[in-house]
């Protein structure tokens, strides 16, 4: 190998080394957010399947067919259900009675427990011990009623659109 070739090989190695040392450049801050703002994320597979089924079913002829099939199923089911209920009315009534009685007993038990818990609580004891004169009762009741009224109005305003008008929302990036 002559000197010229040696020199060229050295230069090649030098160029390769220096190229591999070139730094990476980065885009400015917020780049990721700017990109993600314009990326359409696919919907989860279950949502896609549901939408497809919806689109399939909403095609007019299929929709009519589906509605007809649904109505037919309902009529047939009703046709079987009514005679069955009439035939088994006695045991059904007995079963309903039992379920109803159980619910009433459970509700009464719950009510009694709640009342017992309130009556034995310290808060109730403290309130009962407060010296309330008969002439104070009316202003206190009026105050409580006014507070409830104010709270109801505040809640109504909170849940309503601001001033009942359309408020434009700015979507700055």
């Amino acid at each position: 190998m002559n000197d010229k070739h040696l020199h060229e090989d050295e230069l090649d190695r030098f160029i390769t080394r220096e190229l591999s040392r070139l730094p990476f450049h980065s885009p400015s801050r917020g780049f990721e957010g700017r990109v993600m703002a314009q990326v359409r994320l696919p919907a989860p597979r279950t949502v896609v399947a549901l939408r497809r089924a919806q689109a399939w079913a909403l095609e007019p002829r299929r929709a009519f067919a589906l509605a007809g099939a649904y109505a037919a199923c309902a009529v047939i089911a009703l046709g079987f259900a009514v005679p069955w209920v009439l035939h088994h009315s006695a045991p059904i009534a007995l079963g309903l009675d039992a379920v109803g009685a159980w619910f009433v007993a459970a509700a009464r038990d719950l009510g009694m427990r709640l009342a017992g818990w309130v009556l034995t609580s310290r808060t109730y004891e403290t309130l009962r011990a407060l010296p309330v004169l008969r002439e104070h009762l009316v202003p206190i009741l009026a105050l409580v009623t006014a507070a409830y009224g104010a709270a109801a109005i505040a809640l109504h305003r909170l849940l309503k659109d601001p001033r009942g008008k359309h408020v434009p929302v700015s979507t700055s990036l």
């Binding site: 020199h7 060229e8 050295e10 230069l11 090649d12 030098f14 160029i15 390769t16 220096e18 190229l19 591999s20 040392r21 070139l22 730094p23 990476f24 450049h25 980065s26 885009p27 400015s28 780049f31 990721e32 700017r34 990109v35 993600m36 314009q38 990326v39 359409r40 994320l41 696919p42 919907a43 989860p44 597979r45």
Partner: protein, 201 residues
């Protein structure tokens, strides 16, 4: 649920599969993996920071919105570099920027813009003198690369800056393998001529 930390250990194909299933974190992971390489490639191709940002953003939006059409038998990196390279070449053709200014973007109009768009070399040396030499060397390399024809430039950047295999470059640039090897060989010859004075010095 796969967390961002776990995503880093997955292959590109696995991350793409998660992104296709609607996982936003997978999209962000692909962005993290490729934003610097793609931006660097485009920046070295078009030599203008603002344009590079726009083209990089365009590339990512195109890629991430078309993940459904990505075929896993190809490398994801080849696909994204192909789109980035096409975006750069299209821009250069539009602007007729086959030869680029060495001192700053041809889009720059004021002296501030020229300075801002000039290529920045990295500061690698420990001493001020070494830093100066290193910066000068980096700038000289960048300038020599900028003088290359766009096709040569993308080949040499993908090969030596990104460290991609010839086959991957051929796939990314839609070129026959032989053409890629020829382009890289010619690019090296041109770089050798441009940089000979540095080695002598």
């Amino acid at each position: 649920m796969t967390r961002a930390k776990d995503l880093a250990s997955l292959s590109d194909q696995e991350v793409v599969a998660l992104a296709r299933a609607g996982r936003e974190a997978a999209y962000r992971e692909l962005l993290h993996r490729y934003e610097r390489p793609v931006f660097s490639l485009i920046y070295r191709m078009v030599r203008d920071r603002a344009t590079s940002e726009d083209l990089t953003q365009e590339t990512f939006i195109k890629v991430l919105n078309a993940l459904e059409s990505y075929r896993p038998e190809f490398k994801f990196s080849s696909w994204i570099f192909k789109i980035a390279n096409n975006a750069s070449i299209d821009h250069l053709r539009r602007r007729e920027l086959d030869t680029l200014s060495l001192d700053g973007s041809p889009d720059a109009r004021t002296s501030d813009e020229v300075q801002a768009t000039a290529l920045q070399a990295s500061d690698r040396g420990p001493s001020p003198l070494a830093a100066l030499e290193s910066r000068e060397l980096g700038t000289a390399i960048e300038q020599a690369v900028a003088k290359l024809r766009p096709e040569y430039r993308s080949c040499i950047l993908l090969r030596h800056v990104e460290g991609r295999a010839y086959e991957e470059i051929a796939e990314a640039l839609d070129l026959p393998l032989g053409t890629v090897k020829t382009y890289i060989h010619r690019a090296r010859l041109e770089l050798r001529e441009s940089l000979a004075h540095l080695k002598d010095g």
